[in-house]
Symmetry: C2
Subunit: 192 residues, 2 copies
DNA sequence: TGCAGAATGTGATGTACATCACCTAAGTCC
DNA sequence: GGACTTAGGTGATGTACATCACATTCTGCA
């Protein structure tokens, strides 16, 4: 997958950018490669960038009391991720991001995003739309949390990302669902 | 509270609009008054508008299996609300909105918002920022759901909206926290 | 190739919550 | 002002989950 073409196809779905505008926008991204297990953002870091996944899979997670981990997002290709709270509010990271597999990402600094948004109206349009999708997904997940039991949420997750079942260890799926690994294990072994 | 000045102050915090631009933007809003208990969006409705609260308090909620209600948001003055999923995807409402008190709102149609966003760059900037705040709030609430027990979430809610305790019946607070009214009742009566 | 650590399964036990059932007090409508 | 509804409290019981403890693979790597 060519990083530039991947990003271009992704953005042009929503925004009308000329080739020249896109090239300009793209010039602010930096391609980075990470190994499986490598950290991209660690708790306490200064957060300056957000990341667009080209290949591989990342997880964005929160660790409570140095004990329990909750996964906010599995970031697959064409997904964006960061600790957005820290990024926008210029605070230290409370959410960490690392790699579940070798991964390539395009990274964009907060300052550059804001600069581009102010320079190119259609870029601002794109980022509004993108945040919007994130907001709706987050709200949907919140409702699912309140409304569904663990089993239903587990099936919902696998329906949305069938690859996850083989890609990531089960205890991480449990951490996404917000249950203990033991409970998840019993869950899908119960139904034969 | 003057509706126009309220909205103006709210928007100018984030966006640089000339008086003329703001007047133009404002000309697309329509002031509406509702009585306590009145519905603004009901499940199954076509959803064309979003709402900016001037006075009073609304709730946005979801009803599961015609039985249980979950509250997504208490909308206080200067908050925006709607069924954004239905609004953006042009589907029927699954989320309802009604009034916890007499209320005044400014309503804006989806088409007008998109029109204004394409005409005025700074308006698009404002709406990107607004969605962003919503996204961060939603993500924070999701984390709180996974991480904290009911008591902690109850205290968090009251810390954020001290007015709520007297403004809304307790079973609605339970519906926001995602627990039964009995559990909530026992919770704050336990600690003397 | 063999060993340490990670991932997973499974039993026993405790607990926070839902659910049901019933009670009282405070609006609200004719 | 009586009747009906809505809010709220409280006991008894059931259940989905966490937690702890331990056994069993699997996997990477020195």
């Amino acid at each position: 997958m060519d990083p530039k073409e991947t990003l271009k196809a992704h953005i042009l779905k929503t925004a009308n950018l000329t080739d020249k505008e896109f090239d300009y926008l793209f010039s602010h991204f930096k391609l980075q490669s990470f190994k499986k297990g490598q950290a991209i953002i660690s708790e306490g870091d200064k957060v300056d960038h957000e990341y667009f996944v080209i290949s591989g899979c990342l997880k964005a997670f929160f660790i409570n009391d140095e004990i329990k981990m909750y996964i906010l997002q599995f970031a697959m290709p064409t997904w964006w991720t960061s600790d957005y709270g820290a990024l926008y509010n210029h605070t230290r990271a409370t959410i960490s991001v690392d790699c579940l597999s070798d991964a390539e990402v395009l990274c964009l600094s907060n300052d550059d995003r804001e600069k581009i948004c102010s320079e190119i109206h259609q870029a601002e349009h794109f980022f509004r739309w993108r945040t919007n999708r994130g907001y709706l997904a987050s709200q949907k997940r919140l409702l699912s949390f309140m409304n569904n039991d663990t089993k239903a949420r587990y099936e919902e997750l696998l329906a949305m990302y069938p690859q996850l079942y083989n890609l990531v260890p089960k205890h991480l799926i449990a951490a996404y669902l917000g249950v203990s690994r033991e409970t998840l294990s019993r869950l899908y072994n119960a139904q034969k």
